[in-house]
Symmetry: C2
Subunit: 383 residues, 2 copies
């Protein structure tokens, strides 16, 4: 019901009864509970169909907000959003993730308090916090697991840092999952199955199934950077295997190949700059990288049959040659049934994608049926 | 709630309140509606914890049954099951699917009536029918789509054949999806994410996410037989591309390679027979086929992070060399996080897998929240 109200699909109790198929009496009872609990409010009157005009329902955005935090290798963005997804206040600072969790999270904590004060929202209206970090995370506990570019963060219990400081749940996930969630919610709300492919130094993928993140059995889903690609047996990967996708087509790999071809480039950003300067070798290599990534995605399209593949990360700044290479192979190698409505597009959420997605992670948690049921029910021992 | 009762996880109203987090009053109301509607019944008394002994709840299996139908290239199995999943009566006949829909479905219809009569179940206790067919199906309409081994079935509206004959919904899906559903329910009820890989003449995959079939945007998910494999550019596939997995490692491809190696074999079944007779070349080719399939699955393990990969189909009858080859590559190529609890196992549901899965498709439909909500609610205009 909350999802329907939140999407604007249902504005009245009658809408809810029609769309959920539940009895009007059940709907009325549930709506009362949601209003009492402060998640939903009534506003004015809707269009009458003959009798008394129905009262309109909407999320109570004044009394419910969340914080989204996007931690990158060298930046920290924080945004305060109401549960409708509107940004109320936001900050952005250069922060080195390598300074370790205590220093970085103290900074986040300060910004969180500042944003609540700036927007005039009391602490009790804060309902959850979502955090995206640039490394693998065990989602159930919020602990980063052996994150390569986050020294000092291995198994650090991020949510516990905030316990006592904020009386709400803190959800932590890796940046690609958070980007997938944000992009899906803001740019493709009607797409059930979406892949977000982030091409930076490495390559990762956020997997959305039926509108929800698919994290897999151990939270390892979407790790496509280490899928083996053909004809690359000599490419050594940081994971210890050879022939991995990111060892051939990631930003760092492209920079190394460009250097070997006589055009010095240290990082993916350098490759992007060279393409933008019109360097032909860089352009050729990026398109070739797109083809190699496309070969892996073609297999995933057959397996997963998504509606949309969104491409983000630093390398997506040169999305024309990159996506041209990807599309070339996907449309050649995937089955017609799976490609005739497939779109392969650059990310639209841009620099803000991470913080919007982190906020979305928190909102989805607040509006999830299990969470709402627990909040609405008295303890079961009490009757 | 029904799922909890069905799994045996909740036997009393108090269990339901505890497990769902809903208020006792809400639970009591919903349970009454389920009993009135005949889906749930009360039986005897449970263990008392001091006060009045709680009444036990269970699915009303006497008043609710479904039919599962498994159509293969040359067989037709039909089973009548109660909604607890117990088989009440079953039949098996040789039927050529190539005789076309009318002839085959008339046969199915006859068997369905016979089984209901044999088990003494009146037609009004039948709640749904599930059918698995050996080809692609548009699930929403139940129409096969260009099925290669089902001449005459293209776009035939299977559910409409039964309209008027049975007052219930008829669900049609491809055999691999149905096998995945059956295997998951009967052998791995606690696994959320499972892949069922069928290796017969071709190669296909059923994808279970969070306990539900993932069909993808156009119903094309799981079509892994046409993923490109390395070093196979000269293998022409029936899909028109070259280098597809099934053109190299499917039963028909293995038979052709065996013939080329001087050991005549016409089909995958012949290869299986040769392995069982101890033919060394056949054994070597099956293990090599397992490695090639394992290379594709290694990528899917990184992407999807399943708990279990189940291998079925004709070629799984020689699962020792086949799975040895698959495991060899999966454990070498997939990431440790995704493999440390992964199991790769032969199918346990055997010949009955198809019909059990088809019945499960029907049961899941009957117990699905949307379906139950609609059944329990009066028309929303009435109130």
């Amino acid at each position: 019901m909350l999802a329907l109200i939140s999407r604007g699909a249902a504005g009245t109790r009658a809408d809810l009864a029609r769309l959920t198929g539940m009895a009007r009496s059940t709907v009325a009872q549930r709506v009362e509970a949601l209003i009492e609990h402060g998640l939903v409010e009534e506003t004015g009157a809707g269009a009458s169909t003959g009798g008394r005009p129905p009262r309109l329902l909407r999320l109570d955005t004044a009394r419910n907000c969340v914080l989204g935090v996007d931690l990158g290798a060298t930046h920290c963005r924080v945004a305060l959003m109401d549960i409708g997804g509107t940004i109320l206040a936001a900050s952005e600072d250069p922060v080195q993730i390598g300074q370790g969790p205590l220093s970085v999270l103290e900074h986040v904590d300060t910004r969180m308090h500042e944003l609540l004060a700036e927007a005039g929202r009391p602490l009790e209206t804060l309902k959850a916090v979502g955090i995206g970090v640039p490394g693998p995370v065990e989602f159930a506990t919020g602990r980063p697991v052996a994150p390569p570019i986050m020294p000092g963060w291995h198994e650090y219990p991020v949510p516990e840092f905030f316990t006592g400081r904020y009386p709400v749940e803190v959800l932590v996930d890796n940046d690609v999952n958070v980007l997938a969630l944000g992009e899906r919610r803001f740019a493709y709300p009607d797409s059930a199955h979406l892949l977000f492919v982030k091409i930076g130094t490495g390559i990762g993928c956020g997997v959305v199934v039926d509108g929800h993140l698919h994290r897999g059995a151990q939270g390892g889903a979407g790790d496509i950077g280490h899928i083996r690609v053909p004809d690359a047996a000599d490419a050594l990967c940081r994971c210890g295997n050879t022939g991995c996708l990111e060892a051939v087509a990631g930003g760092a790999a492209l920079a190394a190949r460009l250097t070997a071809a006589g055009v010095p480039a240290a990082t993916g950003r350098d490759v992007v700059a060279l393409v933008n300067q019109g360097d032909g070798t860089a352009l050729r290599l990026v398109r070739e990288g797109g083809r190699i990534i496309g070969d892996v995605l073609a297999g995933l399209v057959n397996f997963f049959n998504p509606e949309v593949i969104v491409v983000g990360g630093v390398m997506a700044r040169v999305h024309e040659p990159l996506l041209a290479g990807m599309r070339e192979v996907i449309y050649q190698r995937s089955l017609p049934l799976a490609t005739h409505r497939l779109t392969v597009v650059p990310s639209r959420s841009g620099e803000e994608g991470g913080v919007l997605g982190a906020g979305r992670l928190a909102i989805d948690h607040v509006l999830a049926p299990d969470h709402v049921n627990r909040a609405l029910s008295p303890p079961t021992g009490a009757t």
